[in-house]
Symmetry: D3
Subunit: 250 residues, 6 copies
């Protein structure tokens, strides 16, 4: 089984990190590949970035689908789940967003979860996703650390400190489980779990788990109506070739 | 006062038609300009199209903002309200989507409304918007006519027939008001009102009304946090120049 | 176009003030008249007052409708939107409440708004309206300043101070936009906007904007079933002539 | 214990009928009195009627409160629960609306209930009450028979036939319990229960049961803030004396 | 009329106390009997306890139903309402849970209520019940005192102090009414009401009031489909005889 | 990795069937064991059955936990998810219900799903679960086939015919995905998928997929407060040893 992990920002370092995290939790029969666009937003921290990210997801999924050996499942590795609906139109395979997966698994791990994310300006999108996935009762807090996505690389232990502190606040406020609100936090999950004392969910791992389970049981994307291949999307997406030279982290 | 109407598909005929509809309901002190992208989706009928439409909206709003005389308000003239959040980040002026405006005004015109739209595959997006705008109680039906957007031009009276029939069904089922689910139906609104016997709301007109009211009272987009100008969006959006030669219908 | 502004309390000073506010934001083609009842509640600050206010609204709308030149739209200028459903039964024209209008426009200006109002005992009614208009997700706070309606006149700058302080608290708590919860605050809107740093919405201006937009597009009140003229309401309302000598602020 | 039953329309025959129904289910220690206004709406079938009804409720409750032996509890015997919030401001005793009581008891009698009422134009108000009382999940249908309130008197067995038919439809559609949507149906409850085969709830009986239970346990209306006596309501309501010669059905 | 009060834990002292509380508020025509299981959980403070409690409720209701003089109504005297749905399958009579009854009456006594309960680990169950009974808008706070159920007996005035303090916090936070979240607090209700200054609702009293009202009006449990007697439940429940020697507090 | 599948009814044949279905979709590194109680309900088709099922789940989980090699995850293989909260208190490992898992995966496979289940009397429980898991928007239909659980074994192709027919109706009504509402349908999933033309989700497979994904990423049950081991549950559950001679299908 092959899962394609799509990082919709252009950070090669972050893509490699996410791929590592995914491989660490994938079953023995799962191959994880990862890609990111060659041009576009360097981090997804605004609605404008989300628009660029969605365009990148569409292109990367379509390119893989039209390649020699299309993936058995696709994971969108950005907490805003950009382009999720569009990607589902393009393939029969399951497409799983990391916010979606993290919330679904967090709701199984405990009654209430809290999201700890990067910049406060992204909380609006998180609110939208909580509503879209039916998590209004399960999600009891959305907190921003103020750490920009790309600073997660550099700040290292300081980032852990800040995220752990917000996570502890969320737990004190009623969260049984913490959801990490950025793919770039994937490598911090184990350390945070140890420090916070409640389960911490990384969406990349969650999505790989859900996607591989779906593949094993033969469950793909429903092609009934909404997610059927669009007439004009059959040959190729209508977007410009912004990401022609994909970086593949196989 | 100048309002910029953004049709995110590439149909010049439809853009001209929408501009006419908007001008017919604008106050005497309002100038309506209209634009559409030079390349992109010819109609917005899938989530893949929505991604392209959002990218077009971002570019067109940014281009106008950076032009000689930026608009006092922006209207996104596609019923999926693509790129609405992103456009709000780019300007201080109000940005109004036509689905949003139509639903808000329909909720003032009667207790319950029904949406009549084009293809059934777009109903998922409509469901999302109903939830996003808090219209779960107000919206009692979502119906698709099966008419593709671009066929609205050609089928003429047949389209009116079909839309009127679905509207009558919606009214019989409890809708006090009908919301037209496509900008391309703007020119049919008066005829449909006469035939269906309940108010019929065209989102283009609704959005122009809301936007001009907001401009008169000095109410723009809140720039607090979520909709503040993104750091990387200050100079120019991160999208490729897909719509370089904008068609302006001034 | 003529809009009739209905202040359902008996304060002539407040009626004049509201009329001024409305005229300041009306389009060049809009005439705003204002009326208040001759007897009734001097301010609307309790459910008992709401009952009196609703009765006044019914009478004043019916009297105007039966007059020589009925208005093209009616605005109920009290934040409880008293008598809104009843007034809709009486006329074909649009009827817009100021709470309703303020919330709809606030939801377009930003994702989340907070309401700042007068006495805490009115918050229950505000909760009801938030639910009725589908604003549970958009409205993130309801705060009372403790200032009685009629003290807004006298306290001047002190009132601004208190309202600004509560508005700042609401913004700090996540409100992108502030909604003023009393028609009597209409004249403070501009000053508050300047002080608070986020958009502040006065419902009177909002309602005039929505109502005039509706008139221009030919959108009135749906007369299907619920809002059809009641059998016994055709000739005259069944209420006593409490407001015989209407004060008209034309 | 004395319960005052308030019929807010002017029908003496209906008031007597409701009083009989209430007495039939009251405990041995409960005295039921009934009143109706001398002038006002002859039936409550529109929002305009609701406004008149609310005014009547305020007056009748205040008059009883200021009388020689105020009631221990008040029941508002009209399915729109007009004036409920206002009446709660006026007294310390419990005030129970019949729609409210019927829905609360129906939700204990089965999982899902359906409401069968008079004219379809009243369904909007019923929707509001379902939401206000938190019954969105419990209430699975709202159906109108088309029978005007006052025709319930005259049509006798025909009315039973029609209501039974709509009740059977509701049961077939998933309603475990039927709620009668008009006080004027109180005398038909037993016959309907026998015919429909599922429990049928008359709100008058339900409200008397809830109110007397509240009195026995010392539970009145909370006077904290919202329902505290209004400053201007202490002496007398601000409404005109429309119902000076109350009809008392003691 | 005979009401059977079912305490699903094994505490004889608590059963006697609850029975006293119930008798104090029952009408003159109501006999209250009380039972508890001979073996099982000594207090219901976890989901594991809830499972045992539900089993006890099923047995005790079935045993009473099959006895010489079955009760006219059943009250489940544990705030988790364990076994409520199952008990409804077993009898035609009304079955009322004390959480359910307390919330319904609290919602009639004021707009917003707060629950004050025992251990924080039971709040999850309380959240579930708030949702099940449609009380998301009415219930504004859920607070745990940290007092284990059985300590309520011993700590006496200290428990009152703690519960009163949490109740006052709830009232300050917007609760018009306090709901006591444990049957074992039934005897403290009067004292708490006096101290807190807002109505305090004991679910045992509330349930006895609702149940006796339902009996008087002939309203039992709907036997349509969901709550019809199960095929295998007709003779006897499928549970082991854990409570063979029932303690009856008649 | 070892997953324990708990069938809470006493059918050995059904337990074996479920175990087969689970093994067919488990990863190569997963061992699936299955157990059922020796005494109890032969099928779970009522709330009384649910109570017995919850008791069985508690015992079976506790027995496994206290055994030589406790499982790494537990799956409750009954669509009512009986005892789910209680089981979570007893172990640190993940506990996944099949209704829960099926709904979470169905929501990833398409926007809207429909549940097709056995007897209509179980729909109430299904409604509760839909609300508990936040699936009110995702779940668009709940349909009962009328086939008792144990008849699924015997009726073979007739059952497939009936379930397929209800599934097709659900798809025609807007369901993108079908959720099978009984563990006993696990072996029919592939055939149904082929016939219905939209994805069909078997909860047993879904739960095994989610549970194994959770184990791989180190995500168990949060032990914060609600799901911490109960004081009295540490040694052994408080239930009688009804299932002493467990049937283990290893």
């Amino acid at each position: 089984m092959r899962i394609l992990l799509i990082n919709p920002n252009t950070s090669r370092a972050m893509t490699a990190k996410i791929a590592d995290a995914a491989r660490g939790v994938a079953g023995p029969d799962v191959v994880v590949d990862a890609v990111c666009p060659a041009v576009g937003a360097s981090a997804i921290e605004s609605h404008v970035d989300e628009v660029a990210a969605a365009a990148a997801v569409v292109e990367l999924v379509a390119a893989d689908r039209d390649g020699a050996s299309p993936a058995d499942a696709y994971v969108i590795a950005c907490f805003g789940d950009p382009g999720l609906d569009a990607a589902r139109e393009l393939v029969d395979a399951p497409v799983v967003g990391i916010a979606e997966a993290a919330m679904h698994l967090a709701a199984v791990s405990g009654r209430h979860f809290g999201v700890v994310t990067t910049l406060s300006r992204t909380l609006g999108r998180a609110h939208d996703l909580v509503a879209r996935y039916g998590m209004e009762r399960a999600c009891v807090s959305l907190a921003a650390t103020g750490i920009p996505v790309l600073d997660l690389e550099e700040t290292g232990s300081l980032a852990v400190e800040t995220i752990a502190s917000h996570s502890a606040d969320a737990a004190a406020g009623g969260a049984d489980v913490i959801v990490l609100g950025c793919a770039g936090m994937a490598d911090l999950c184990a350390e945070l779990t140890a420090r916070v004392g409640v389960p911490v969910v990384d969406g990349v791992a969650a999505a790989v788990g859900m996607a591989s389970g779906m593949v094993r049981m033969g469950l793909g994307t429903s092609k009934r109506d909404e997610y059927a291949l669009p007439a004009r999307g059959a040959a190729a997406p209508t977007l410009p070739p912004q990401a022609a030279n994909l970086e593949v982290f196989a």
